[in-house]
Every structure is written in C-alpha cells, then in structure tokens.
C-alpha cells in the first residue's frame, strides 16, 4: 500500500497547530500510525480528477437563509454554569494581552 510520494507528517509540528500537547510516546505511536493511514489515503492519487466537475458539491442542494431578527436565547447565567471559571458575568481566562 505504501507509495513513493507519501509525505512524512511531522506530528510534533501538527500537534502544535492543533493546540494539543503530546508526550514522547504518543508522538512516536502517532507518527507510525498516521504515516500508515496517510499511505493508505494516497490511493486517491490513482484517480485522475483534472476533468472532474464534482468539486464543492453541497451535501444538500437547498440553502435556507433566515431573517436577521433577534429571538430568545439561553441566558448568560445558564451558559456560565458550565464554565470552569467565571467572574462578573464573563468567562475568566489567563491574561491574553499585556497592559
């Protein structure tokens, strides 16, 4: 199933993009498993898609747009009940910008 072109995925780099810390063991396992999966995915290379016109075919053909009007929604209180930390009606996070 392996092909000559299979790009080597850099798991550490992609994990950084995905905002997930991985330990050494996970990096190694994923490197191996994802390389196998990507090797398999490369079977799509056999298909000549240059003349294919099915790109961007929506899963459903109808598009529903609604009126831009406000309507009742969940209360701030209900939503904050699930927040790990909140203060003054807001979700609390570590400082994001330096003053």
């Amino acid at each position: 199933m392996s092909s000559e072109r299979t790009e080597q995925i850099d798991v550490r780099y992609v994990a950084k993009l995905a905002r997930i810390d991985l330990n050494e063991a996970e990096c190694e396992t994923f490197q191996e498993q994802l390389s196998a999966i990507l090797g398999y995915i490369d079977t799509l290379k056999d298909l000549d898609l240059d003349t294919t016109d099915t790109e961007g075919q929506p899963a459903v053909d109808d598009n529903y747009l609604r009126e831009d009007v406000s309507r009742p929604s969940l209360s701030q209180e209900d939503l904050l009940r699930n927040a790990p930390e909140s203060a003054k009606g807001q979700v609390r996070v570590p400082k994001v910008v330096d003053a």
Binding site: E7, I9, V11, V14, A15, L17, A18, R19, I20, D21, L22, E26, T29, F30, Q33, L34, A36, I37, L38, Y40, I41, D42, T43, L44, L47, L49, T52, D53, T54, E55, G56, Q57, A59, V60, D62, N63, Y64, R66, L74, D78, L79, R81, N82, A83, P84, E85, V91, V93, P94, K95, V96
Partner: protein, 475 residues
Amino acid sequence: MELSNQSITSLRKQLTSGDICSADIIGSLANAIEKKDGEIGAYLSHDLDAARKAAKTADLSLPLGGIPIAIKDNINVKGQPCSCASRFLDGSYTSPYDATVISKLRAAGAILYGRTNMDEFAMGSTTENSALGNTRNPHDLTRAPGGSSGGSAAAVASHSAIAALGSDTGGSIRQPASYCGVVGLKPSYGRVSRYGLVAFASSLDQIGPITQNVEDSALLLNTISGRDAMDATSLEQPDTDFTQGLNDGVAGMKLGLPKEYFGDGIDPAVRHQVDESIKKLESAGAELVEISLPHTEYAVATYYIIAPAEASSNLSRFDGVRYGNRVENPNDIIDLYRRSREQGFGPEVKRRIILGTYVLSSGYYDAYYNKAQKVKGLIKRDFENAYQKVDAILSPVTPNVAPVIGADKDNPLQQYLADIFTISANLAGICGISVPCGKVTSESGSQLPVGLQILGPHMGEQAILKVARAVESSD
C-alpha cells in the same frame, strides 16, 4: 411482567387499552438495567426515579406517550450530563438546552431517562474508545457491541432499553445495530435536525433510531424528522407517516447488488447469511439487479480525510474556556488550551484531530481535502446513477461479525477499513438501514448476529423501511 423486551408498538397498545401504565414499563426497565447492565455497561448514567415521576404524568394520547427512550451521550438533554464518553466533559458539563430531536421526543410524550455509552466523541467502531468504561456485546460478553453508538445498540439488544437514539457519521448506527442484532436507521442527510448533537463531521452526521424492530424505527423517524430553523442543513419535507405501507412487500421492487460490495474479504459465514436473506427477498417477488458503484474502493480514503478534517475544526471548541476540562495553573492562554486538550482527550480523538489538522494545513489542503470533496461527489454520482435502475441497494453491513474486545486496539487503519460498506452512504448523503438477517456461530459457540444493509436514495426512507420489514418478516 417483563415489558422491557417489547416493542414500542406493542407497549403503546397495552398503554392505551389500560392494561399497563407507564410506571410498569419503567419498573420493568429498572429491573432489566439492574440485572444486566452491570455486565453489559450500555449506560453511562440514568435517572430512573425521575423517569418514574415522569411516568405518573405521561400523556398517553401522544404517539410516544409513556415510552422511555435511551439517548446516546452526544445528544443534549436539558439538565442531564452530555459527556460524549470523554474525560473532557465528564462530571463537568450539564446540558443547558434540549437538542431538537429531544424537544420532538418530549412533545411526543417520550420519557428521557438515560445516556448510553459510545466511542469518545463518536470516533470509533467498537465503543472501546469510550473514556468512561467498556460496553460488552449482549450476544457474547467477550466481544464488542460495535460503535460508535455501541451503548444504544447493546441497551436495546439486552432489553435494558425499549429503543434508543444514536448518531451515524460513517456507520455508527448501522454497524453496532448489526453486531447486536437490532434495527438501526441512518436517515438521509437533511432528514433530521442535528441541533444539539455534539458535532463530529458536520457534512456527514445524522441522528437516527436503534430499535427492536422496523416498525419502531419508522415510528421514531416520524417523530424526529423535519425541517428545523436551528439546523440550516435540515430540509423541508412532506409530512410522512413512515409506518404506512411497511407491510406492502417487495413484489415488483428492483433491488441492486453492487458487485464491488460482494468481492473478497467478507467472512464466508456472514456472506452466507446475507445471501440467504437476499434469496428470500427474491422469492418474495423482488427483482435482483447487478449494479456497479465504481468509486467504492476510494470511499474509506475519502472518508478519513473529510471526517477528521471536519472533526479537527468542530473539536476546536473544546479548549477549556467555556466548558469542560481546564488544566490547573496554566502559564498562559495557549498553555491552557494545549494542556486542557492533552488531559481531556483520549488517543483516538487526538489521532483524528492531528490527522484532520494535517490535511487542512497550508500546502496540503488541495492535495487532500479538495481532492476528497471531488471524490465524494463521484461517490454521490455513482449512487444517483444506480438509483436510475433500482429502488434500493443491498449489501452486508460489515465484512465480519462483532470483533473480540481488544482485537484491533493498536491498528487504527485495520479498524477504519472495516467501515467499507457503511461510509459511502454518509458521503453520498443517502439513507441506510441495518436489519438482522441471521446468526453465525463463533469458535466459542456464541451466536453472533449478522445484519443486512439496505441503502435507499436521498429521502427514500419509505422504500428501505419496506424492504427491511420484508427481511424481518421472512425470518
């Protein structure tokens, strides 16, 4: 009296005639759960006291009045946990709202009392990826119930649920239904609102029923389907009673057998059961037509680009800010994201987020995601062409019977490849149903169910329910 082993239809008759009351059903259900769920592990949580209370005020005039329905743990029910079988949400999240399917079930009189186990965030095909415990196949406790809706299927199969809802992104309703010997329906894309379903792959996800028989499946579809302003992909549709015409039979119907689905790689014992049930449909008057779905061999690769790509985007909401797991003492906001996600997600979820992030990343987007979208279109066209010639398509649901727990634990690719017969329906947006069609004796002597899959055109649920009913009644 044991009631939890009866169908919705049968229970409804006894409820409306006054022979039983809803509390009797809850009582029987509680007994079954107490007796069996210790070893099956189908439920993550349940509240039978609340169900007993709800039973007292059940409005029996409604179509599902007094009937308890189990819910997969990725569908929001107001006031109940919704953990997606993940440590990320377990113990810290309570649903502040009802999913649309839940509002519809409530309006129809159903009682929502329990949450069923699943692969974490619906990623998996054995329920072994649940972070919150194992579910075992009621037909053989050494085997998996399938997945990702394994808890729902195992609950119905062990009669510790009357019926359940699951979700299907690549086969997650049909495959566990097949492994557990119950009926699982994946409705057409757009048939049922996903508002309140925790999104996995938005262009593929559908909610559907897992039931003891075909009539119950139709009955639940009546309740949960319909256009919903809260899900822009749900479709306007005529009001249909899917229970009508179920027993009309298959005489005169054209049923397609895709040659790509009947090649090598199917367990001969499974193949035998499937062939036998197809023969019965032929004797009942259906015309069998060999067809071709030429892009079948590309379906798994296409799916494992699109589904992880969409998952990596959908699961970015689990960042430790608004709900769920948050790491202690983060250095900064990025550290909070990275370590909260590391702690909260299990290996399969991480693997798919990494894969999805990779195929969407700069320089690879065209080679993977765009290409997969084109192939998805080709797969959809294959089915459209096929439905010019046939009314429905028949195939196995899976190449094998339920796997032994732990069998493919370290080989995700091997697990992915077993999805071959179910994922095309999600890519094409069509409907599919799994109906029991016999059993196979395992090496240890257990009797393992086999399912027949019936695939119908987009919004063609009535046809596949009718064929499924014919399979069911030929047993």
